[in-house]
Every structure is written in structure tokens, then in C-alpha cells.
């Protein structure tokens, strides 16, 4: 049996202890992983007809995953929305503001998945829930889980998800117009993982 170390979720300095929420007994067979660099969570949206990419600089991911123990696998990812970075100060300010992420009200977004499917060929699917902007809705991740080249003990978890920003109340009013900002937002992630023993 492995016990998840008491890793403190420090993204916001909020000291959320995710580990306490993990059912250590049921998860006995799935490997616990820690994310190390390189790791990224990026997104693509279309603004005025042209796609641009942004990223979240601060996030924490607790990954418990083994391809042969999907039942016991589990993802918990916390993202600091205030750490959004699109390389353009004006846009970042708007994204942090009340009409988008409204980080003054809640700056944490959380993705949680406990249900996984093996699609063959190292491809998997997670059916999880995204809590964002005060709403909690199902979001599907498609991802691959492959050994890192040159690092025998490390793996790379890489995938993407898509959702409609309006479902989460992001960019309402004038901003809701699809012509100026796409409704569909793509999220991409790539996490290098090392075992926690």
C-alpha cells in the first residue's frame, strides 16, 4: 500500500491539503506521481478571427495513475486563474477581471477525475468535472501516458480538453459574441511525471 504524502497544495498559498482528500486505501494499486518540469497547461482561443495561445503559470496536479489500475486512478488539478499569461498585459487584465475569470471572487479552478477508460495504444480518456467560475460541469480529457525518453522512471502525461466558455459564464454580455471570441476553448497540458514512493 502506498500512502500519498501530505503534499500541501500551495498554488494560492491557500494550503489546501489535497492529500487528505485522497482515499489512500482504495487507491492502493495506482501509482502516485509528482509533476516536474517541463510541465505546462496552455489554452487556445480565437480572438477576432485569429487564434492565440495562453498559459497558466501556477498550477498543481496530483496524479494517481496506472494503466492497469484505472479503477483506482485519480486526477486532481488546481489552477491559479490569476496566473494567466497571454503575453499581452491588456488581455491578461481583462481575463482576470469580472467579465472573465473574476479572480477577485474565486481564483482557483479545479479539475477532478476518478473515471478513466483505456482507448488502446497508450491513449486514455478521463471523465471528470471542472469547477470554474463557480460552476461545476463534466469535462472530458483525452490523453496519452508514455515513458519519457531517456528518463526510464519518468512518464509524460499529455492531452487536451475542450469546453464552451459560456457554460462556465466566461465572457458574457458583449463578449459572448462568437464572432469576436470563440465559444470553444481548447486546453492542452503536458506534464512530466516522476514516481512518489
Amino acid at each position: 500500500m502506498i500512502s500519498y504524502p501530505d503534499r500541501i497544495f500551495t498554488v494560492l498559498g491557500l494550503q489546501i491539503i489535497f492529500a487528505a482528500a485522497l482515499p489512500t486505501t482504495a487507491a492502493a494499486e495506482a501509482q502516485a506521481w509528482q509533476t516536474i518540469k517541463p510541465r505546462s497547461i496552455t489554452f487556445v482561443a480565437v480572438q477576432a478571427g485569429a487564434p492565440f495561445e495562453g498559459r497558466f503559470e501556477q498550477f498543481e496536479a496530483l496524479i494517481q495513475f496506472s494503466p492497469d489500475a484505472l479503477e483506482e486512478s485519480r486526477f486532481q488539478v488546481g489552477i491559479d486563474l490569476a496566473s494567466v499569461e497571454t503575453d499581452y498585459e491588456d488581455r491578461d487584465e481583462i481575463l482576470r477581471g469580472a467579465e472573465f475569470f473574476d479572480v477577485k471572487a474565486e481564483r482557483l479552478a479545479v479539475y477532478e477525475a476518478v473515471s478513466f477508460a483505456d482507448l488502446g495504444g497508450n491513449k486514455f480518456r478521463a471523465d471528470g468535472q471542472l469547477s470554474l467560475n463557480g460552476r461545476r460541469l463534466p469535462v472530458v480529457l483525452a490523453f496519452t501516458f508514455v515513458p519519457a525518453e531517456e528518463q526510464r522512471n519518468q512518464y509524460i502525461l499529455r492531452g487536451h480538453a475542450e469546453f464552451n466558455r459560456l457554460d462556465f459564464g466566461i465572457g458574457l454580455g458583449d463578449w459572448a459574441d462568437e464572432k469576436w471570441i470563440s465559444h470553444t476553448v481548447e486546453v492542452h497540458f503536458s506534464l512530466q511525471l516522476t514516481r512518489i514512493d
Binding site: Q47, A48, G49, A50, T86, I94, G173, W175, K179, W180
Partner: protein, 197 residues
Amino acid sequence: MSQDCQELIAIRKLKNTAERYGIVSQAFHWLIVVLIIVQYQMGRIAEDLPLGFDKLVLMSRHKSLGMTILGLALLRLLWRLANKSPGSPPGLHRALQGLGRTTHVALYGLLLALPITGWLASSYANSPVSWWGWFTVPDLVMPDKENFERLSELHQLLTRFLIVVVTLHAAAALVHHFYFKDDVLRRMLPGWPGLRK
């Protein structure tokens, strides 16, 4: 007059002669004058708007129109290479001839440099330009906040320079017309009967 002959005259009117600008050069000139006025106003108004939806919309149109002007300016230069401009009016002082030529070179330079600095600024700000929502113009450079500031200042500086040069240029046209009483303004105006004979 025979059909053939009329067609020949119509074609000849398109091209410049030693005495006057043809219809194509005139159309380029006045179309670009109108677009530049709109473009300049849009830029100033957008710049003064508070961060928000209206600014995004106006700035997007500014970028699309600016790229349109860049395309027209390139076509115009091609046309000019294939089509000599009428020379200076007879008897014009050599210094004034030189001043006129320098002003025209500066105007062509601005017609290219303004859109290109705007395009560079947009690329540096990770805000790819869409041409009226039809297609995305490729980025010229990787995002970089400092260079965005530099380029956007340069873009702004060039707009001030544009005002100075255009004022000089338009004043010269009026001086030619009302003071020197030559054909310089008239030969850039449509409908002048110089070619009909």
C-alpha cells in the same frame, strides 16, 4: 470614332502620361487617402477607449484595414514601377523638385512602415492579425512584451510623422494650384480633360 479607337483611349487613360496621372494612379492615390484618414481616426479613438470589448472590436478593424492599406500600397508601388510618374512641372526650382521627390518617398515609406510596425507590434503582443475574419495573417516575430512597447511607440511616432509629411504634401499641392497656378493638383484629379483630345 471607331469602337477600337475608343477602347484604345480608355486603356490609355488608365496609364500615366508625361503630363498627368492615369486613372489607376489616381484611384490608388485617393482611395488610400480616404482609407488613411479612417485608419488614423480609428487608431486614435481605439487608443483612447478604456480596456474592453469596444476597444477589441475597433482595434481589430484597425488591423484589418491597416493590412488592406499595406496590400494596396504594395500594388501601388508595383504599378508605379511599371508606370513612370509625370515629371516636375517645367520651370520648377530644383530645390522644390527635390523636396517634392523626398516627400513622395517619405509618403511611400510611411505607407509601408506604418502597417509593418503595427503588424510587428501585434505579433509581439501575441495577438495575431485576422484579415476581416477571413484568414489569419502569419505572425512576424515571437511574443515579447518589451519589444511590443517599443514597436507600439514607434508606430505611434510614425503616425505623428505622417501628419507632418501629409500636411506639407497637401499644402504643396495647394500652393502649386493657387500660387504657381500649374497643373500639379489637376493632374492628380479625375476628369481633367487633358487626355480627351
